[in-house]
């Protein structure tokens, strides 16, 4: 099992970059003064343990964690850009709104920062992030009173009620749509394309599985995100992809 880096994701990292000091939620405290590892990397080219930061986009997440621990903000930024989409998707799968999803994602990053010096196996961090985000999301959803058994958005062991599965060929019902509302314009639909349209006709559980399948970097991360055993991913994946293909074929 590898923790693949995807060029598509690293490309997203740089977009919309915010300058330090004007970031939302920038802590109002003195930042510990010490050389940034990316600067150090350029200043001391002989240091083989910290290659220039331009490699960070290609670096494995475990290495980014090690660099971030040494104060390399660029490495941390890549780590955030690479894993935030899955953490956001995990929170969303628990039925949380935008504010609460953001809260879950931020709590997860803060939990990593608070114990980043104690991380013994940096390669395991992506899995740990998914587990932590899920735990935070479930806890917040519970606090918000969104744990009604009839609406197990958090992939509990409770079987999904059949009534929530649309019949084959049935159009989308609001319940299963990832997003809906007036902002869902014709133009947006066109941009989303046929895949987006097909996704929205799938049962919510399949939407979540496919979304996390597309975002996870390993099966262990995916299993943690969905909170299901690694062994049961294969069949669920096959079923949901078949579901999607059927929708795309019609």
């Amino acid at each position: 099992m590898t923790l693949n880096d995807r060029p598509a994701l690293s490309g997203r990292v740089g977009r919309g970059r915010v300058l330090p000091g004007v970031m939302t939620g920038e802590p109002q405290k003195e930042v510990i003064p010490r050389p940034r590892a990316d600067e150090a990397g350029h200043a001391t080219p002989g240091d083989v343990r910290l290659p220039p930061v331009s490699d960070a986009a290609e670096a494995e997440s475990g290495e980014l964690v090690v660099r971030a621990r040494l104060g390399d903000r660029a490495a941390w930024g890549f780590l955030v850009g690479r894993h935030a989409p899955l953490l956001w998707a995990i929170a969303r799968s628990c039925g949380l709104d935008d504010a609460d999803c953001g809260d879950v994602v931020q709590t997860t990053w803060l939990r990593l920062v608070e114990r980043i010096d104690a991380v013994r196996d940096p390669q395991a961090v992506p899995h740990w992030l998914a587990v932590t985000a899920r735990r935070e999301a479930v806890s917040l959803a519970r606090r918000r009173g969104r744990e009604a058994p009839a609406d197990p958005l958090c992939f509990t062991d409770v079987p999904r009620p059949r009534s929530r599965r649309p019949a084959i060929g049935n159009g989308s019902s609001g319940v299963h749509e990832l997003v809906s509302g007036p902002e869902d314009t014709a133009l947006a639909r066109e941009q989303i394309g046929r895949v987006g349209d097909a996704i929205r006709t799938l049962p919510r559980r399949c939407q979540d599985l496919l979304r996390m399948l597309a975002l996870a970097h390993s099966y262990s991360e995916l299993a943690a995100a969905l909170d299901i055993p690694v062994g049961s991913i294969g069949s669920a994946r096959t079923r949901c992809l078949a579901h999607l293909r059927r929708r795309l074929a019609t």
């Binding site: 693949n4 995807r6 598509a8 919309g16 915010v18 330090p20 970031m23 939302t24 939620g25 920038e26 802590p27 109002q28 405290k29 930042v31 510990i32 971030a68 104060g71 903000r73 941390w76 955030v80 850009g81 935030a84 989409p85 956001w88 998707a89 969303r92 999803c101 953001g102 809260d103 994602v105 931020q106 709590t107 990053w109 803060l110 939990r111 920062v113 608070e114 980043i116 010096d117 104690a118 917040l140 606090r143 990832l178 997003v179 941009q191 989303i192 394309g193 895949v195 987006g196 996704i199 929205r200 496919l210 979304r211 399948l213 597309a214 996870a216 970097h217 099966y219 992809l241 999607l244």
Partner: protein
């Protein structure tokens, strides 16, 4: 994980349907600024509400207990909304500078007295963490909690 040709298309579709807001990414990037490399982490080991389970009313009091190697922090949280009060005790008892960290509000600080007791008021709800600077120059930081 990459063998499925659908995945790139899927990822793009989901990103369009429900993108991660830029402010969430920016906050995540800034999270490293909260790194306290020289602090001992006090993990949350106990939490209970004085109200009945599931009925965390605005008048309820939350009791939080954190443990770090050699230190215990107990905090009572009362109040509601933007006006929470944190009454706490550091054990073993010692004076300390107490800093409140809050990503969405300005930090505030107070002092723990000889009995280790401290109080913070007018704390807005949200994620918070307490940092204790001890007389021996060591530092204890509580795990982040959502108030």
């Amino acid at each position: 994980m990459k063998e499925e040709p659908f995945l790139d298309e899927l990822r793009a579709a989901f990103e369009h349907l429900d993108p991660v807001p830029e402010e969430v990414l920016a906050a995540g990037r800034s999270a490293l600024s909260w790194h306290e490399p020289n602090a001992d982490l006090a993990e949350l080991t106990g939490e209970k509400d004085r109200e009945l389970v599931g009925a965390r009313s605005t008048s309820g009091i939350r009791l939080l207990t954190f443990h770090a190697p050699g230190h215990t922090v107990e905090v009572e949280v009362s109040g509601a909304g933007q006006d929470l009060a944190l009454i706490g005790r550091l054990a073993p008892a010692t004076v300390a500078e107490v800093r409140l960290r809050h990503p969405n509000a300005s930090g505030q600080s107070t002092r723990a007295d000889e009995t280790g007791r401290f109080a913070l008021t007018s704390v807005p709800e949200g994620l918070v963490s307490l940092v204790f600077d001890l007389p021996d120059a060591s530092c204890v930081v509580t795990s982040w909690i959502r108030l």
